[in-house]
């Protein structure tokens, strides 16, 4: 089996357990002072890479590199991935707001320099739910993509991926190098043990800037307003069909 290098993209997001609140300016959610952690789908992606290595051996999966784009605190997330078992990390440092296209462009440059055989990404980040970065990256690199993967396996230079689709499960194969984006099913990401957290501090962490990579970060989207969804109203028990028709016509206005 030829040896592979896997690149996994991870993102620091508001922790999934936090109850987010819209900020007073209605421009976004409150991020100050709330707990942040690795995007849950990215945890799965890291875990997938680690399991591929455990299954096929270190000769086949010779290196797992993690990457994150973002401000200084993104390094916390990279350290978590290193503590889970990744070998080295790359921090693309920027304080600018990053849209999926910008991230895809940054990743394109890193892939060009680092030449991994396989890129694993979470299918979306729970911040904006965009589901775009993996697909845009595949487009920019002209690589095959297998999205919404619940199972990944490698056989020589071919990936076999089980995808979750509306009709059920679809199995596809793709030639490496390829992009895979992961869903939440089936595998539990491992916890980083205290000894591994200590070891992670010694693993390499390289910092680069978008300028180093020759990428200009531009925002093409402007958020106009962010509001909370309307509070859920209780259900009503109706007395007759006439009442139902009346409500559908006059209150819900669907007839």
């Amino acid at each position: 089996m030829s040896s592979l290098r896997i690149l996994v993209g991870v993102k620091r997001v508001i922790d999934s357990a936090v109850k987010v609140r819209v900020n007073s300016a209605q421009t976004g959610v409150e991020t100050a002072n709330v707990k942040h952690s690795m995007n849950p789908f990215d945890e799965i992606a890291v875990e997938e890479a680690l399991r591929l290595r455990e299954k096929h051996g270190a000769d086949t999966v010779k290196e797992i590199v993690v990457l994150s784009c973002g401000p200084a605190k993104a390094q916390e997330t990279l350290r978590t991935a290193l503590a889970m078992g990744a070998d080295r990390s790359i921090h693309v440092k920027t304080d600018d707001a990053l849209e999926p296209l910008s991230v895809a462009k940054l990743l394109t440059k890193v892939v060009g320099a680092d030449k991994p055989d396989h890129v694993l990404l979470g299918k979306h980040a729970i911040v904006d739910d965009a589901h775009q970065t993996g697909q845009m990256l595949a487009g920019l690199l002209n690589w095959p993509q297998a999205t919404f993967a619940s199972k990944v396996d490698v056989n020589g230079r071919t990936l076999e991926v089980v995808r979750e689709v509306d009709g059920g499960l679809e199995t596809v194969s793709a030639a490496l190098p390829a992009i895979v984006t992961t869903v939440m099913r089936l595998i539990e990401p491992r916890y980083a043990s205290l000894p591994n957290i200590m070891k992670a501090k010694k693993k390499p962490l390289t910092t680069v800037t978008p300028a180093d990579l020759g990428v200009e970060i531009r925002s093409r989207l402007q958020t106009l307003k962010v509001v909370e969804p309307p509070k859920r109203q209780g259900g009503k028990v109706l007395a007759s069909v006439d009442e139902l028709l009346d409500k559908l016509r006059n209150e819900a206005k669907v007839l």
Partner: protein
């Protein structure tokens, strides 16, 4: 002898011998470390807020219970006073030498003897620093059941001897509940091994309880067995801004109901406290606007999602009912640390502003709201507060409101004089007559023993004195302080 009345006055300080050079020689020959003069300084002879002064001339640092026993035997024989000192972070100056006593420093007795990871029990020497013990047990998935602002300096022996309260009393309870066993040396040198490590033991008088809160007056605590608390998996803080004192109490009742078992701290402070911390410590205020009162709530649990849900519902209801004017939730570790730093350094911030008189009262609910007004009114009526050039600069309250415990601060331009005479004993009398305790968690220390009568009956005080006479007939332990003043 039977029939003889044990009639030593409870205050033996007049009869004791000051420690001498010969005594120092004896200790050195016995292999007990004697601190050099250059080693004895402000950490030993001043309290944290500069109100009291000690003048220890001879300080010993034993390394074992056996050595402590030797020291006490000798001092009992020669009628030399002994003051025990741990981190010397006690607020009312109970660990200061003021009458020519020997200072017994336990800082060299700092071994962790044993941790039982299944039962969650720690046995440690009295000189172990609280923060070090916390770090140690965290590796096993536990935390110490108490936390104080002075955690990096205070020692567990002192925590036991002062029955320390602190920031998490609300959740983990008092030292009387968490201490499972004590090893102490009695004033005559006998070693009392009451180091039991099991949680349930109803067999005879619970002797260890005497030492919890005894402030070194009944013997030297040399080791402690303490029940640990499980390390929380999920922690979050909420900061509230409120307009009136009674809203704090309503918020507390709702917190107890709505947050229930995950509630772990409920602290409050007033507007002036907030300003003083911002001015003296240069920490930013935790909320965007200024409020009459602030509340800091902490929850600890085992599932973040569950706790976040409860907190969200609790805060929504407070806002909907107009009980709070502003709130924020903190779950990022550095934000939570900053909030606790703000609250923990409140006393230190006051001490920087001026000469701080700090009082520590428990008061029943119906009387808490009137404390601040009563003190300000009293001081104003004597012309000591209210004008720009008044001798009293500030009067503030903050504390563990969830435990009915309020700290009252009176900041004066200097210690002593008219201000001190105006506050004491007036404030103790006020608190006593309103059903409160004159010392909720700080203890009696160097001079509060004389005010004990305002919250304890004569019969209770007499029983305390009987116990003191029984265990320390020569009155060598912490003479002239504590119950000796009552």
């Amino acid at each position: 002898m039977a029939g003889d009345k044990l009639c030593l006055a409870i205050d033996a300080s007049g009869k004791l011998n000051a420690v001498s050079a010969d005594d120092v020689k004896h200790f050195a020959e016995a292999g007990i470390r004697v601190l050099a003069d250059s080693e004895i300084g402000p950490p030993h002879n001043a309290d944290m807020f500069g109100r009291y002064a000690g003048d220890a001339r001879v300080a010993l640092a034993p390394t074992s219970t056996a050595q402590v026993s030797q020291v006490l035997s000798y001092c009992n024989e020669r009628q030399i006073g002994v003051v025990v000192q741990g981190g010397n972070t006690g607020v009312p100056g109970g660990a200061l030498c003021q009458r020519g006593e020997v200072l017994l420093c336990l800082s060299d007795m700092k071994k962790v003897r044993h941790v039982d990871p299944v039962a969650g029990v720690l046995v440690a020497d009295a000189g172990c620093v609280l923060a070090d013990l916390d770090d140690h047990v965290q590796q096993l998935g536990y935390i110490m059941p108490l936390d104080l602002g002075s955690r990096r300096r205070c020692m567990i022996g002192g925590n036991v001897s002062t029955s320390a309260g602190g920031l998490r009393y609300l959740r983990y309870g008092s030292m009387h509940g968490n201490v499972l066993g004590v090893e102490a040396v009695l004033p005559d040198g006998r070693i009392l091994d009451a180091l039991f490590t099991l949680k349930k033991d109803t067999s005879g008088y619970d002797v260890k309880q005497l030492f919890i809160g005894a402030e070194g007056t009944l013997g030297v605590v040399t080791a402690v067995a303490i029940a640990l608390a499980p390390k929380p998996q999920a922690t979050q803080l909420a900061v509230l801004g409120l307009g009136a004192f009674d809203k704090i109490e309503q918020a507390f009742v709702r917190a107890r109901q709505g947050l229930g078992e995950i509630l772990s701290a409920f602290e409050f402070w007033d507007r002036r406290c907030d300003e003083i911390v911002v001015e003296s410590m240069h920490y930013p205020s935790l909320l965007k606007s200024a409020h009459e009162f602030y509340v800091l709530i902490e929850t600890r649990g085992s599932l973040m999602r569950h706790d976040a849900e409860k907190m969200s519902a609790f805060l929504d209801a407070l806002h909907a009912d107009g009980l709070v004017d502003e709130s924020c939730v903190l779950s990022a570790p550095d934000a939570m640390d900053a909030a606790w730093m703000f609250r923990s350094n409140m006393a230190a911030a006051h001490a920087r502003r001026g000469c701080m008189y700090v009082y520590d009262f428990s008061l029943p609910s119906q009387h808490k709201p009137s404390l601040l007004g009563a003190v300000k009114g009293h001081l104003s009526s004597l012309g000591l507060y209210g004008a720009a050039d008044s001798p009293v600069l500030d009067v503030t309250i903050f504390g563990h409101i969830g435990d009915d415990n309020i700290h009252l601060q009176v900041i004066a331009r200097e210690f002593g004089g008219a201000v001190e005479a105006a506050i004491e004993p007036w404030i103790y009398s006020w608190v006593g007559s309103h059903g409160g305790s004159v010392a909720a968690e700080h203890g009696l220390g160097a001079h509060k023993g004389q005010f004990l009568k305002y919250s304890k009956s004569a019969a209770v005080i007499d029983t305390m004195k009987d116990l003191k006479r029984l265990l320390d007939p020569r009155g060598i332990m912490n003479p002239g302080k504590h119950i000796c003043q009552a």
